[in-house]
């Protein structure tokens, strides 16, 4: 699966907390100023924050422009980089680079195995003559997991560009530390810390148990197989929310809480939002295709629907079309949305784009 493209802001002088908490306070400012440029800025650890690249790049007209805006806004000694996955993006920020999509493995190849922050693994690998991430990536995967264990296998997938980040990169207490730096009550955040302190000063037993089971599934199916839902703003069901890998920076932030956007359909929302929309044909009682007029109305009454060339199914009710003129800076996408109930009791959400109908979501 494709790794999420991330922008990382790296402020080396703010990485170590001094006695008076000055660094944390300045880092809070960095996060806030970056947040004025782009939403969804997530602190990763002291001195490092990340944000998804795709949306801002569309908005500002390219990743270079995003980087330029952030560099101007940050007002601290630091650097910005863009790459696929958090690990690569942090190294890209340290090198002040934008690594092209799909090329993170080549970018990582010359870095030392020590950058993995796994000292025991690094020593063992260097003893075997494996000194760079590229050499490590070239080892056959089954051998790595057999000889070195699951954590090394995770490092190996990272070096091959198959996963985006490693356990331990993020500071789980960062939100709490920043709340302290802001002078807020550390336990009175807008949401509880993701890990409750337990008997041993670390994660509680239930949290550890859950985290271990997620890690086991990730080991089995890949890091991107275990996802959590985050609400964002947006009109389309596919834009209002996102599924992001569990443990990724986007998964940790508060999200925007699904602030209602104008043009959003009222609830209930569909329970299944198709990753790949299904092509659909729609005709009136005379068998003519139903089209949306220039004024955003249906030119005839819907009678039946066929999905992906399947059999014609009678339509008993429909509503819309609701025209959706997509964001003002994009002139290409103009959509009209239609809800529809079939004779068998099922309901669907469809949209029309350039005279073609598509099934977008199902109300199961």
């Amino acid at each position: 699966m494709e790794l999420e493209r991330l922008v990382v802001i790296w402020c080396p002088l703010l990485q170590q907390e001094g006695g008076r908490g000055e660094e944390a306070r300045r880092f809070v400012q960095v996060v806030a100023r970056a947040g004025e440029i782009c939403p969804w800025v997530h602190p990763i650890r002291l001195g490092v924050c990340a944000l998804p690249a795709r949306g801002p790049a569309r908005f500002f007209g390219g990743e270079e422009m995003v980087v330029r805006h952030l560099v101007e806004a940050v007002e601290e000694d630091g650097s910005v980089g863009v790459a696929d996955g958090l690990f690569g993006a942090i190294l890209a920020a340290r090198s002040q680079l934008i690594v092209p999509a799909g090329e993170v493995a080549q970018f990582l190849a010359p870095w030392s195995v020590a950058t993995l922050a796994r000292p025991e693994l690094a020593v063992t690998l260097q003893r075997l003559g494996v000194t760079t991430l590229g050499q490590f990536a070239a080892l056959p995967a089954p051998h790595v997991s057999d000889r070195f264990g699951a954590d090394a296998a995770a490092c190996h997938r990272l070096c091959r560009g198959e996963s985006g980040e490693l356990a331990g990169v993020r500071d789980r207490a960062i939100d709490r530390r920043l709340r302290v730096a802001r002078g807020e009550d550390p336990d009175q955040g807008s949401e509880p810390p993701p890990f409750q302190p337990g008997f041993f000063g670390g994660a509680s037993a239930a949290e550890t148990r859950a985290a271990l089971s997620f890690a086991r599934v990730q080991e089995r199916l890949g890091v991107d197989a275990v996802l959590v839902g985050r609400l964002r703003g947006g009109r389309d069901p596919s834009e209002q929310a996102a599924l992001v890998p569990w443990g990724s920076p986007e998964a940790e932030g508060p999200g925007t809480g699904g602030a209602p956007w104008p043009g959003r359909l009222p609830p209930p929302s569909p329970t299944r939002v198709l990753g790949v929309p299904q092509r659909a044909e729609m005709v009136d009682a005379t068998g003519r295709a139903v089209v949306v007029s220039g004024r955003g109305l249906l030119e005839s009454e819907v009678d039946r629907l066929s999905v992906e060339g399947g059999p014609w199914q009678p339509v008993v009710a429909w509503a819309g079309p609701w025209p959706v003129t997509e964001r003002w800076w994009s002139v290409r996408r103009r959509r009209a949305r239609l809800q529809m109930v079939m004779a068998d009791g099922t309901a669907r959400l469809l949209y029309n784009e350039r005279t073609q109908w598509w099934v977008e979501a199902l109300y199961d």
Binding site: R147, G198, A210, L221, W246
Partner: protein, 271 residues
């Protein structure tokens, strides 16, 4: 091309920090136990209630008024008739209470709908595309979370169903299985919920919008205590939550527990 050296000294595999953390908090590890016994010991579940809460409108469906830990519940219904909504609704109250939940094999889950149903998104992980590994993934997750919702890709094999039900029992988690027909889950569940007739309201021929869905839900199964019941629910109501219809509220109000029923703002504005 780099050749993998043959003479690698066999070393203890590196342990991940998470594994180390667990070791620290569990001084008695199973591998320190006598052989023979190590296979039979089981980690104990921390003392917790035996029941996991469900949203108020669903309380009448459950003999205990809640999901019971260690049991399997099947949720069946024709595709598109609301079985997914009902199954997701079972995660709402549990996740709000702070328990972790997981949904395995639900392709393309509607995250906004899940939130509207009352699910706390911070406590639910989705494994939408487990492929052939769905049963193993569900088994792994039953070790770690309180409720696992799984949608098998087709009719499950008997051994797989027995294994997962046993895992849920051992780990004192609740297993919820989403199937098209109850018979798709061999042996059936301890409790079987079936969505029957449905009707969408609020939408006409070119006007209105999808507002709420009225659904008949039938309860049966070993743990239903012989009282096969049926009730009518809004699945969902117009705010996106599951709610009792006026008829169901009246019925339960007459029963032993008057507090059961839709919350004041759960019900649809007009029946």
């Amino acid at each position: 091309m780099f050749a993998f050296p043959a003479e690698i000294p066999t070393e203890k595999p590196l342990e991940s920090p998470a594994e180390k953390a667990v070791e620290k908090s569990a001084p008695l590890r199973s591998r320190e136990l006598p052989v023979g016994l190590a296979d039979r010991v089981r980690p104990t579940t921390p003392v917790a209630g035996r029941l996991l809460p469900v949203p108020a409108p669903l309380v009448p469906l459950f003999p205990d008024g809640a999901l019971r830990r260690g049991t399997t519940t099947t949720v069946a219904g024709e595709p598109g008739h609301g079985a997914t909504t009902l199954a997701l609704a079972l995660l709402a109250a549990v996740s709000q209470a702070g328990s972790w939940c997981a949904a395995v094999g639900l392709p393309d889950p509607g995250v906004v709908a899940a939130a509207e149903l009352g699910i706390d998104l911070r406590r639910v992980v989705f494994v939408p595309h487990p492929g052939r590994g769905w049963a193993e993934a569900a088994g792994d997750l039953l070790r770690g979370v309180d409720v696992v919702l799984v949608r098998p890709p087709g009719r499950a094999r008997g051994t797989v169903a027995r294994h997962l039900a046993a895992r849920a029992r051992d780990r004192q988690a609740a297993l919820v299985v989403l199937v098209e027909r109850g018979s798709d889950w061999p042996q059936g569940g301890d409790l079987a919920l079936t969505v029957g007739d449905v009707e969408w309201q609020g939408i006409g021929q070119g006007h209105g919008h999808l507002q709420r869905r009225r659904a008949e839900v039938r309860v049966s199964g070993r743990r239903s205590a012989g009282r096969d019941a049926e009730c009518t629910l809004w699945l969902p109501a117009d705010s996106g939550v599951v709610a009792a219809t006026a008829a169901t509220v009246a019925k339960t109000a007459k029963g032993e527990d008057g507090s059961v029923g839709a919350g004041p703002d759960n019900g649809p504005k007009a029946a």
